[in-house]
Symmetry: C2
C-alpha cells in the first residue's frame, strides 16, 4: 500500500486510508458497556477500550499511521520522539514491527519502569535534562545525527488522523446513533481526531473533551481563542498535563462542542467505578470523561454516549485508592 | 422452555440444554489472549473471561441453571443459600431476575461490602454464627420456614452443569484444538463441570485443576481416593478454601487428569501479570491456573491451553501488591 505523509488537516478519505494503513500494527479493541454504570448515570454509555490496544493505549494508532506513511528510505533511518509516556512505547513498538531503530528522548528522572518498558520494545533511550529546552535540544541532536523521523506526540496530522480511527471504530461498532462522543484532552491529538471523525462520519453529534480543573489549559484556550498553558500540573491524570499545539487547537476550536472540567476526586471516583464495575484497568487520564458524566449528570441523562477509554498503563502497586 | 432439576451426573445433552436455559441470565463472555504472557510461558493461552460475567464471576451460571429448572411453584417460594462470596450474589441476582425472593445466610462477621453487594441484588441477608454448624442450622431454619429452594454452591448437579457451560463456550470460541484445559478447584463445581465438558466435547485433552499448596485438599483427595479437608486455610485465594463434595469429587476423580499446586507468591505474581499485561481485573483465586503454568513451565511449553478466569470481585483498595 502506498501512502504519503499528511501535511494538512486530515480529510474524510485520509482518516479512512489511515484506518486501513494501521491495521497490521493495531488491535480492533472491543466496545464495552456496564449495566451498573448506566444505572448510576441514567445514560447509555459505550466505552471504546483502548486500554486493550497494543502497548496499552490509543497512542499506538498515531505512531503506526506516521510510521506507515514514511517512504522506505525515510523509515530505514528510524523513528524518534520525546516522551516518557505511552507515546514513547508506541513509537518504539512501531519501529520494532517495521524493523527499524527507535530513538526515544526521555528526561533523566523518568521512572525506571517506563524506561524499561520502552527498551523492552527494542528502542534506544537517550536521556536529556528534565526541561522543555533540554528535551528539544536533545531531540534535535538525535534527529540531526541519525536522520530519524520525529513523530511528535500530537502536533502532527498523521498522528491526529491515526488517533481519529479510534472514534471511527466506536461509531462502526456502537449503536446506530450517538448523542455525545467524549475524549480526554491533553495535547489534543485524540480530542482533535475524535472531533474530526464525528464531523465527517456522524450526524447531530455533540463532541465533548474533558480535562482536570488542575490543568484546564484546553478550556481556557477554547474560550479565549489563543493557546493557554498551565502554571502548575498537580493532577493525577498525568497524560493530560500537556498544552495544546497549533494543529490540535485549530481542529478543536472548529469541531469540539465544549470542554468540561473535573476535579481530582471525581477522576479517582470514576476510575474506581470502572475498575470495580467493569473489571478493567484504566489509567487516571482515561477516567476523566466518565468523571465529567458523574459531575454534570443533567447533560447526560437519557443520552447515548460514546467514551474513549484511552489507556491502561498504571502502576498497580501505587493506586489512589 | 420446560426443564427439570438434574438428579444425576449431567449428560452431554444436560449440558447443552443447560447452556440454552441460562441464556437470559448470563453474558457470553469473551475469550482473550495476551502476546506478552504467551511469550513468557512459551504456551498459546486462551483465557475465558468470566470476570466479565454477570455479578463478576462464573457462579452466575450454576445459580441460573438451578433457578431455571425449578417448577413455577417451587420457584415462587424463593431461593436460598449460604455463602459470603460470589455464589451469594449469583443466587440473589437469579432470584431478582426471576422476580422471587432470595434468602442468603452469611456469617455475622462477613465483610460489609459483601453484605451490601448481596442486598444490592434485592436479597434478604440472614446472619448466622460463623461456624459450619451455625451456618447449616440457620440455612435449614430458613428453608423450613420459607420453603425456599436451597442452591448449594457446588454439591448440586444443576450447579455443576451450569458451570460446565463455561468450558463449552471456551471450546466453541477458542482454537480448533486445545491440548490442555484448566480451572481452579475449591469446592469443585467449576472443576467438575469443566472436566465433564472436556470429556463430552473435546478429544485428546488434558484437564488440569489447580489449587494453592495452602489448601491442597483436592490434591490429597485425588491421590488418596477419599475426600480430604484442610486443617488451615492460609491462602489469598479465598474462593478455593472449601473442600470437595461427594458429587464434585466423583466427577473430578473420573475426568480430571491431574491437580497442580502452587505457592502464594506464584498466585500473586500471576495475578499481577494478568492485571498489568491484559489490563483486566481478576481475583486471586482466578490467578491460580496461570500460576501453575508459571510454576511448571515444562508441562505447558508449546501447548495450546485454555484457562478459565473465574472472577473479578476483589477489593481494589486492598491489593497484595
Amino acid at each position: 500500500m502506498s501512502a504519503k505523509l499528511l501535511t494538512s488537516v486530515p480529510t474524510i478519505e485520509d482518516i479512512r486510508a489511515s484506518h486501513r494503513l494501521i491495521q497490521p500494527l493495531v488491535h480492533r479493541t472491543p466496545v464495552m458497556t456496564s449495566e451498573a454504570i448506566n444505572k448510576m448515570t441514567g445514560a447509555d454509555i459505550y466505552f471504546k477500550c483502548e486500554n486493550f490496544q497494543k502497548i496499552g493505549a490509543f497512542k499506538m494508532r498515531g505512531a503506526a499511521n506516521a510510521a506507515s506513511r514514511l517512504s522506505e528510505e525515510q523509515l530505514a533511518k528510524g523513528l524518534a520522539t520525546h516522551s516518557s509516556g505511552n507515546h514513547a512505547q508506541a513509537v518504539a513498538r512501531a519501529a520494532q514491527v517495521k524493523g527499524v531503530p527507535a530513538y526515544i528522548v526521555m528526561p533523566e528522572n523518568a521512572p525506571a519502569v517506563k524506561v524499561a518498558a520502552t527498551r523492552g520494545y527494542g528502542a534506544e533511550v537517550i536521556f536529556c535534562e528534565s526541561t522543555p529546552e533540554g528535551r528539544q535540544a536533545k531531540l534535535e541532536e538525535v534527529v540531526a545525527e541519525k536522520g530519524a523521523y520525529f513523530i511528535h506526540p500530537f502536533d502532527d496530522y498523521n498522528v491526529i488522523a491515526g488517533q481519529a480511527t479510534t472514534a471511527l471504530e466506536l461509531l462502526q461498532d456502537g449503536p446506530d446513533h450517538f448523542h455525545i462522543l467524549m475524549a480526554p484532552v491533553g495535547g489534543g491529538g485524540l480530542a482533535s481526531g475524535t472531533a474530526l471523525t464525528a464531523h465527517y462520519f456522524a450526524k447531530d453529534i455533540t463532541v465533548l473533551a474533558a480535562e482536570p480543573f488542575e490543568v484546564d489549559d484546553a478550556y481556557r484556550s477554547f474560550h479565549s481563542g489563543t493557546i493557554q498553558r498551565n502554571e502548575t500540573t498537580n493532577t493525577i491524570a498525568d497524560g493530560l498535563r500537556t498544552p495544546l499545539s497549533e494543529k490540535t487547537f485549530g481542529i478543536i476550536r472548529e469541531h469540539v462542542t465544549d470542554i468540561l472540567r473535573v476535579d481530582e476526586e471525581a477522576i479517582i471516583h470514576a476510575m474506581r467505578q470502572v475498575w470495580e464495575r467493569m473489571k478493567i484497568i484504566i489509567e487516571p487520564s482515561c477516567a476523566v470523561p466518565l468523571a465529567a458524566v458523574f459531575s454534570y449528570p443533567e447533560q447526560f441523562k437519557g443520552k447515548t454516549v460514546g467514551i474513549i477509554l484511552t489507556g491502561g498503563n498504571v502502576d498497580v502497586g501505587k493506586l489512589p485508592f
